[in-house]
Symmetry: C2
Subunit: 400 residues, 2 copies
């Protein structure tokens, strides 16, 4: 294929983050600068807007407006979790053809990379001349071939700031505290709770990731051990913790409570948006450990991905640079790619952006390496070294 003339469309897909609009700004400004495309369109609610022809013209967006959008949490174009099939794609191409759109920049995570692959392959099969670029975004940090993903650093910062404050709260009024953190298959976000530790004995004292089997008896023994040692116990638990049969504890509870579970178009069972897992673990500790102390749980829920004002500077910069890198790859003549982030140095921390074929990323899930998990209830210092530059410096705290 030669470099097509034509226009570009940008879409934002999956769960929003506080920096996904930085990626949008990065794509827009890079197209404006490279003059890759004639007009720049934004699709409202991702594939839904693409299938309905619901576009907003971003061609002449001013620098000031771009800065404002870049700093806004949430997906300003609107998002979607729809998964297109071949028929859906044909409807998309009809709408794209009407606007002579030949470039697609799709900002999203795991499921979105799969959507990109489907659209790209159906376009090839249908002889619709479209070059599809996946710009990475996910707080779960679970895209393969990347050191990390835009959105993760800020969500991890939220988790670290929450655990830092919560651990100090628990020092003041001791008891047992469970914090339930997002992460279906990948425990990177829950692992980031370890960054909150400021000195020996500061929480979190226990960290449970979905990469390890969650065993109730072992959990109770862990809590007993830590509470006995510290007089309090702060526990970070991933919403995706599961039994030896890989059934999430939250799903077992949902089935027990209502007899059915809710799934999205990608087949994912709903885990967030309910306090049931935290309440279950609270009840379990109260029943099994007769400490007569406060046992509480908080489920961080959607705040982790949306909270305004808790942004990692590095994350925002990289989200923007990822958008720019996708346009650069397009300008370089690459026919379609997923942008990956590679760490090129630890000290000083530096990265590069490497385009890879869509099929190498699409629908694959990266998880926390087993070597970073300690005794099934903690993470190693290697993980902490990995995550620290992504999250940025935390508030300084003192003690008496």
């Amino acid at each position: 294929m030669s470099q097509p003339a034509g226009n570009a469309v940008i879409a934002q897909s999956g769960g929003p983050t506080v920096v996904i609009n930085s990626s949008l700004a990065g794509v827009v400004e890079a197209i404006q600068q490279t003059e890759l495309a004639g007009s720049i369109y934004g699709a409202r609610h991702a594939v839904r807007g693409m299938v309905a022809g619901d576009f907003v013209d971003l061609t002449d967006l001013s620098g000031a407006k771009l800065e404002l959008i870049a700093g806004t949490p949430g997906a300003t174009l609107g998002s979607s979790r729809d998964k297109p099939d071949a028929e859906y794609c044909q409807k998309i191409f009809q709408q794209l053809a009407e606007k002579d759109i030949r470039w697609l920049f799709y900002i999203g995570g795991n499921d979105s990379s799969e959507t990109c692959r489907i659209i790209s392959e159906v376009a090839t099969d249908s002889n619709y001349d479209l070059r599809t670029f996946h710009v990475p975004k996910t707080i779960d940090n679970d895209l393969v071939l990347s050191d990390h993903t835009p959105g993760y650093g800020s969500a991890a910062r939220f988790v670290a700031c929450a655990l830092l404050g919560d651990s100090l709260d628990m020092q003041a009024l001791p008891g047992i505290k469970i914090d339930v953190i997002m992460g279906r298959h990948a425990g990177f976000l829950t692992a980031a709770s370890a960054l909150a530790r400021t000195e020996h004995g500061t929480g979190p004292h226990l960290i449970y990731l979905p990469e390890a089997v969650f065993d109730v008896d072992r959990f109770i023994a862990d809590v007993d051990r830590m509470y006995s040692a510290h007089g309090r116990c702060v526990i970070a638990v991933s919403e995706g913790i599961h039994d030896a049969q890989e059934v999430p504890v939250a799903q077992l509870l949902a089935e027990q409570l209502s007899g059915e579970v809710e799934r999205d178009a990608h087949g994912n069972v709903q885990l967030s948006g309910s306090g049931a897992l935290g309440d279950f673990l609270t009840k379990l500790i109260r029943e099994r450990l007769d400490y007569k102390v406060r046992v509480r749980s908080d489920t961080f829920g959607y705040l982790q991905r949306s909270f305004a004002g808790c942004v990692s500077t590095v994350d925002a910069q990289e989200a923007r640079a990822s958008g720019r890198a996708a346009v650069q790859a397009a300008a370089d003549g690459i026919e379609g790619a997923s942008i990956t982030i590679r760490r090129t140095s630890d000290t000083p921390y530096t990265v590069e952006y490497v385009p890879v074929p869509l099929r190498e990323v699409a629908g694959k899930t990266r998880t926390v390496p087993t070597s970073w998990i300690e005794n099934g209830c903690d993470v190693t210092s290697e993980f902490i070294e990995y995550a620290r530059p992504l999250v940025g410096p935390l508030p300084q705290v003192g003690s008496l």
Copy 2:
């Protein structure tokens, strides 16, 4: 009484906040500057440390250390929810006498002001020469005679930032979202969600305070009306919402689920630390409104009072100034007082610190004025004007 020679003790009581250590720093630095007392002690875990003689010497705390402590979330001295009786007070006086402590600076909220009154009155009855000062602190903003209380502005900022991000998240992926916010009797914190509104139609669309009766049928009708108008609905609900008989919905649920409720030493039923209320309202909407859309809830829980890095500048300054004002009142020869904050001007925003007798504040609860509640499901612009300077400027957001 003439001005007693002797030493001072400072304590932090009740639920910690992100600025209660600013008040501690304010008391310490003001005593250092005024030379009110010889030695300055901190009581570990409030009355528990006072009864056990568990003190830390703060007399020579450096300015640098004070700054670090002032910026640290949580109650660095440790806190307690114990409520002393006359016998408990006698044990306290034994310990205070051993260290010749004649000044007590007690930083805390509603229940703590009552503790101050009890200690002060038993001291008088026992001829123990003690001057007791209550330094205000509560995220609930429910102390009488004050315009607002230290701790409220930062917690309200957390709520506003959370709702700002959450409303944008819901714009991107529309549905119905319930956010459960702390506040047993006073809805000030839930009301602060209104500050998140950036333009017409931005959430929260409905706000329920414990100052109004919560009626399930009316709630469903409200949600139906707002969802129909906006295609989404973001709802801020106080954990303390109650039926016409003033029984909290959360308590009814707890009784239904486990047959019993947990109470603290002050007789308060536990409302926080569980997602049950949010899950109940989610289920209610799913059953009663057949929209086939995402319905989710988040319970903000302890993050509201502890989250590191979400601090209102005005709140931190006022927390510190409240501590200083208590020492100034003592230096002025006042024999005991609760420090109140009065707003002296709206534009520019200014306040003054007025000491009042302990009995005028102790154990009394201030609630959101009825005139600030709109139709039982919103707050007025008058409330927003009131709260804005306490919370400070929020992140700027844009839209396309």
